[in-house]
């Protein structure tokens, strides 16, 4: 199984012009706990997918929202020359295929 098979929403978005934030959300507590228990989601795993320093990855487990959150500095500030995703909305895709053992 991969993360996209279990989550009911995986999304990315700017959190202000300098930060990208990623939400991974679930329909029920069992799915949330299954992913949490697998240990597959971690700052180290995220840093590897998004080619950034693990110290720059902020990770939150939000059980009451049935969600995980990652935040990282934007590789390019929003709207900088070369930025191809003004709202940061299409940056979540590498998370979809994360293997959940």
């Amino acid at each position: 199984m991969v993360l996209a098979d279990i989550a009911n929403l995986i999304r990315s978005k700017n959190a202000g012009p300098f930060t990208l934030t990623f939400d991974i959300m679930f329909a029920d507590l069992a799915s949330y706990r299954r992913v949490k228990g697998s240990g597959a989601l971690s700052p180290a795993a995220f840093a590897k997918l998004y080619l950034c320093l693990v110290e720059k990855v902020r990770f939150f487990e939000c059980e009451n929202a049935l969600a995980f959150k990652f935040s990282i500095p934007r590789p390019l500030t929003q709207g900088e020359l070369g930025d191809g995703d003004m709202h940061g909305g299409q940056q979540f895709v590498p998370l979809m295929n994360l293997e959940i053992p």
């Binding site: 012009p17 049935l66 709207g79």
Partner: protein, 468 residues
């Protein structure tokens, strides 16, 4: 409303952004529930730095007028204040004046009379440089470098106000508060805090309400109605088929925030770590336990600086021989353009002052350096060439000089002359105008919560009079 006497305070959040489209029917339904005020955010940096830099709004005037008219008329009907913040998208002075002009039209058309407080949030550059020299401008993480020249070259810098300037306006008896750049949550927390409601609840109520029906299970046409008491918040929508659930309300605090629990405002941080969410009925949620920690007063700054002017060419490539060597081919096109520029525009356009960016759709245009699969070759590649230069004229010429090499740069697989690039338009070059970049991610440390903001009081009515 005597201090500390209220058992509850109620408010309406009619829409996530002025101009987003208020449901008049839902607003009427909520208005029947005796709200104490209406508040609405009108701004965002979400679309990018252009609005702030250029001094223009991101919503059509008609859409803003329609929503503002519904709110102002509802406010007069119920005799309650209406608070609008981050006017005109970026909340600069020119944006506030744009909304003020719309309000004047509404007042005249509907024969309203409004004691109006206008709060400007644009910052004086000499003042900011003074703060900078006193080490009272601090970087957030990550922050671009700051200096006198960054402040001077920014086309516009705004400060994001907290509740205090709004509270001053309300204390003076304003029916309508029209504020420049402002914390979204502060618009809703200002009056509950005057009334002595717990800060953790007042701020969290603002946070969950400010995006309108985005806090609901599914987005739809409606308004949010929020009640604060001494120990809890209740939140519900009015509008067909809409419901708040404990999950939807808890999940809303994640949206567009880097930290789902800690939210920094001017006067401190509200902490949702201990918040609980329970269903009261099918559509209403109760929140308890949210806290607020006071911290040294800071005001977030937003600035935009002109990065240059841009012209673009849009088109695509289908030839598999080119697609399989696209990086090298585009590098060769770039070298050819560089050479033409130095021959043709050499005296006027130095190489360090312009840039050519190829966005290659189908390869890595969307994710750039984060693309995990850049080697996967599609059958067709879309290309947007951005030519950026210090003037529009130069950007246009730069793009024009790029067109021929894009069309005809040869590859060894084909003998003779080729046409490699499918242009979408004639003329191929589209001028985009000025391009801005965000210049600040910093906070200022003012001496008082209100010194960075300028409030004007006027009576808006059919014939305008000074405040009496």
């Amino acid at each position: 409303m005597a201090n500390g006497q209220l058992l509850q305070i109620r408010f309406i959040s009619p829409v996530g952004c002025v101009g987003g489209g208020i449901s008049g029917a839902a607003l009427d339904e909520a208005l029947a529930q005796a709200p104490d005020f209406i508040a609405c955010d009108a701004g965002t940096t979400d679309a990018g730095p252009f609005s702030l830099g250029m001094g223009v709004p991101a919503f059509p005037r008609e859409a803003v007028k329609r929503d503002l008219s519904l709110m102002l008329r509802a406010g007069r009907k119920a005799n309650i204040p209406v608070i609008i913040g981050s006017a005109g998208t970026a909340g600069g002075d020119v944006h506030v004046d744009w909304v003020l002009e719309i309000a004047r039209e509404i007042v005249a058309e509907h024969n309203l009379s409004l004691r109006t407080a206008i709060i400007y949030a644009e910052q004086d550059k000499a003042y900011l440089k003074r703060l900078l020299h006193q080490n009272r401008i601090l970087p957030l993480d990550p922050a671009p470098p700051i200096s006198d020249s960054i402040i001077d070259s920014s086309s516009r810098i705004v400060g994001m106000m907290g509740v205090e300037p709004l509270q001053q306006a309300i204390a003076e008896g304003a029916d309508f508060v029209l504020a420049g750049r402002c914390s979204d949550s502060a618009l809703f927390a200002a009056i509950p805090l005057i009334q002595g409601f717990p800060p953790g609840l007042a701020w969290h109520a603002g946070k969950v309400s400010e995006c309108g029906t985005l806090v609901c299970e599914t987005l739809g046409q409606g308004v949010i109605f929020t009640t604060i008491s001494q120990d809890e918040i209740t939140i519900r929508p009015y509008g067909d088929g809409l419901r708040c659930t404990p999950h939807s309300v808890a999940a809303h605090s994640l949206y567009e925030n880097s930290d789902p629990y800690l939210h920094r405002e001017c006067s401190g941080t509200f902490d949702l770590t201990k918040s609980t969410f329970d269903a009261i009925d099918d559509v209403t949620v109760r929140i308890r336990g949210s806290e607020f920690i006071s911290e040294p007063y800071t005001v977030k700054l937003e600035g935009a600086v002109l990065a240059g002017y841009q012209s673009i060419i849009v088109g695509g490539i289908r030839d598999p021989y080119i697609i399989r060597q696209l990086d090298n081919w585009l590098a060769a096109v770039r070298s050819y353009v560089d050479e033409s520029v130095s021959h043709v525009l050499g005296d006027e356009l130095d190489k360090s002052s312009y840039s050519l960016t190829f966005h290659t759709y189908g390869i890595d245009a969307v994710m750039g350096s984060l693309e995990p699969d850049p080697k996967h070759l599609p059958h067709e590649v879309g290309i947007v060439l951005e030519a950026s230069a210090p003037t529009q004229e130069m950007a246009h010429k730069l793009a024009q000089l790029s067109r021929q090499p894009l069309l005809h740069y040869p590859i060894k697989e084909w003998a003779g002359s080729i046409t490699a690039f499918a242009c979408l338009h004639n003329p191929a070059v589209i001028d985009r105008g000025p391009v801005y970049r965000f210049s600040l991610n910093h906070v200022a440390v003012p001496s008082t919560p209100v010194e960075m903001f300028r409030t004007h009081f006027i009576d808006l009515c059919g014939s305008e009079k000074p405040w009496s």
